[in-house]
């Protein structure tokens, strides 16, 4: 494989939320195939700054695939073409010489563009604030294993808790629905004894917050689970629906 490739980047540029935005094309000669996608963006920005131009704004933080900050809709796929990967973990060897790469921000009315490729994902924070927590009395930590949890349930809860809240599910979903994110949060607490006291209230309040944010509804296309960098299963959405039915039917 070639050590370096020549690329053309078609990047969405938008000055602020109100700006209507447009695509701009940049030539990227001699991109090392060992670079991550974000490192390639760094190289571009370095050049733009040297030329006295405005660098491309994009979200990033840990660059090791666990923080959920990086986004980018790359060639029509959330986090690019690789399965189970965040943009920071995507390497340039997955692209070919002479390729034009189109880079867009997440598109959803709930995720307004702040600048270029940066979107405001505080809709997710509002969903978490509505119920993605447990109430515990402060004091000494309880003894280990004082609350027994079955291995199967612990594993399932952990799979749900792997959600990094990046928003790829919303970006990918044809309805811009946040159900995979929401269900991961509801599911991981519903499976554990610590989540039991607020179980019914949680699902109701979190769904209300989801809908208020202007996120769409789920039509079970399964696109979210296919693009999720943490490969969270839509079986969590089924659990969310179950929790909702259970809470909705109950007397409280």
């Amino acid at each position: 494989m070639a050590e370096s490739i020549n690329l053309k980047l078609k990047i969405w540029r938008q000055r602020n939320t109100k700006d209507s935005g447009h695509f701009e094309t940049y030539d990227m000669p001699g991109v090392s195939t060992h670079m991550s996608f974000l490192e390639m963006m760094d190289v571009l920005n370095d050049r733009l700054i040297r030329d006295g131009k405005d660098p491309v704004a994009f979200d990033h933080d840990c660059r090791e695939g666990i923080c959920g900050m990086c986004s980018m809709y790359i060639n029509g796929r959330a986090h690019g073409p690789l399965k189970g990967t965040t943009t920071c973990q995507l390497h340039m060897r997955h692209f070919s010489d002479g390729e034009t790469i189109t880079i867009e921000p997440w598109r959803a009315s709930a995720f307004p563009v702040i600048k270029d490729l940066v979107v405001n994902r505080s809709a997710f924070d509002k969903i978490i604030a509505a119920g993605g927590y447990i109430s515990v009395n402060t004091g000494n930590a309880p003894d280990a294993n004082s609350l027994p949890v079955e291995k199967v349930k612990a594993d399932e809860a952990f799979d749900a808790a792997a959600c990094i809240g990046c928003g790829a599910c919303v970006a990918t979903c044809k309805n811009a629905s946040g159900m995979l994110f929401l269900s991961a949060k509801v599911s991981h607490l519903a499976l554990l004894p610590q989540g039991e006291p607020e179980r019914k209230e949680r699902v109701m309040r979190m769904i209300d917050a989801h809908d208020e944010a202007g996120l769409g509804s789920c039509t079970n296309t399964g696109a979210c689970e296919a693009e999720c960098p943490k490969e969270i299963s839509i079986s969590h959405i089924a659990r969310l629906n179950r929790e909702y039915l259970r809470a909705g039917m109950s007397q409280e």
Binding site: N75, E104, S109, A110, K174, T221, G222, S235, A238
Partner: protein
């Protein structure tokens, strides 16, 4: 009453309405298919006509019929609302979007296939339901079926609509189970397989009538057309 219905107003609640009405309509299709199969009895359409008259004469069936029309209307209105609000959730579309990499075309276009099925439904009701049940036509229902499918255009419209219905059901059936929460790692593949088998049964089963009657395969059409009841 209103308070207890509140749960059906959220995004998940509206999907529950879609799922419940959808499964109800799935059940109805089975019943309809059973009734139609009586056309193959080679008795000049006697059993089919009698079955139709039994349905009309039965008070319970008449009540369920109201629920059926209610269910269809609710399924359509809720579907339209969901399609509208889901479109609103993404006002700016992607310049490049490779949706085929993560989902099937039919799962993404239930609104479109549903709309075509609705057009078919109007044509279908206009041909059989309206003349017989509202205008009180005297002719035999089996005779009307057999003669309607003599038109190649009409028969092919039916086949096309039924194949589309099959695709709609293939996603809809398993989707309803997912929405009602009856899905997990254990059942997922079984539900999907059952849904596909069901969709095939409905699509092929209903398509067989226009095909068999148009081409008079095994004499099904002439058997009815040459019988005067």
């Amino acid at each position: 009453m209103i308070a207890s219905l509140r749960m059906f107003y959220s995004s998940v609640g509206r999907k529950l309405v879609m799922a419940m009405t959808g499964l109800f309509l799935c059940f109805f299709l089975l019943e309809h298919l059973y009734g139609n199969l009586l056309l193959y009895k080679m008795d000049g359409g006697k059993a089919f006509n009698e079955y139709g008259e039994f349905l009309v004469g039965n008070i319970i069936i008449r009540t369920v019929e109201f629920a059926l029309f209610g269910g269809i209307i609710l399924h359509i209105i809720d579907g339209l609302y969901l399609t509208y609000s889901n479109k609103k959730a993404r006002p700016v579309r992607y310049a490049v979007n490779q949706q085929s990499k993560n989902s099937t075309w039919f799962s993404r276009n239930m609104g479109l296939t549903g709309s075509v099925i609705f057009i078919f439904l109007v044509v279908h009701l206009r041909t059989f339901f309206v003349p017989h049940r509202i205008l009180g036509a005297e002719s035999s229902m089996a005779h009307d079926v057999a003669s309607a499918f003599q038109s190649g255009m009409y028969a092919s419209l039916y086949v096309a609509a039924m194949l589309l219905l099959g695709a709609h059901l293939n996603h809809g059936f398993q989707s309803a189970f997912q929405t009602l929460g009856w899905n997990n790692h254990k059942y997922a593949s079984a539900i999907k397989t059952a849904g596909t088998l069901y969709a095939l049964l409905i699509a092929l089963g209903f398509s067989s009538f226009p095909i068999f009657f148009h081409f008079d395969i095994m004499g099904v059409a002439s058997n009815i057309l040459h019988t005067t009841l």
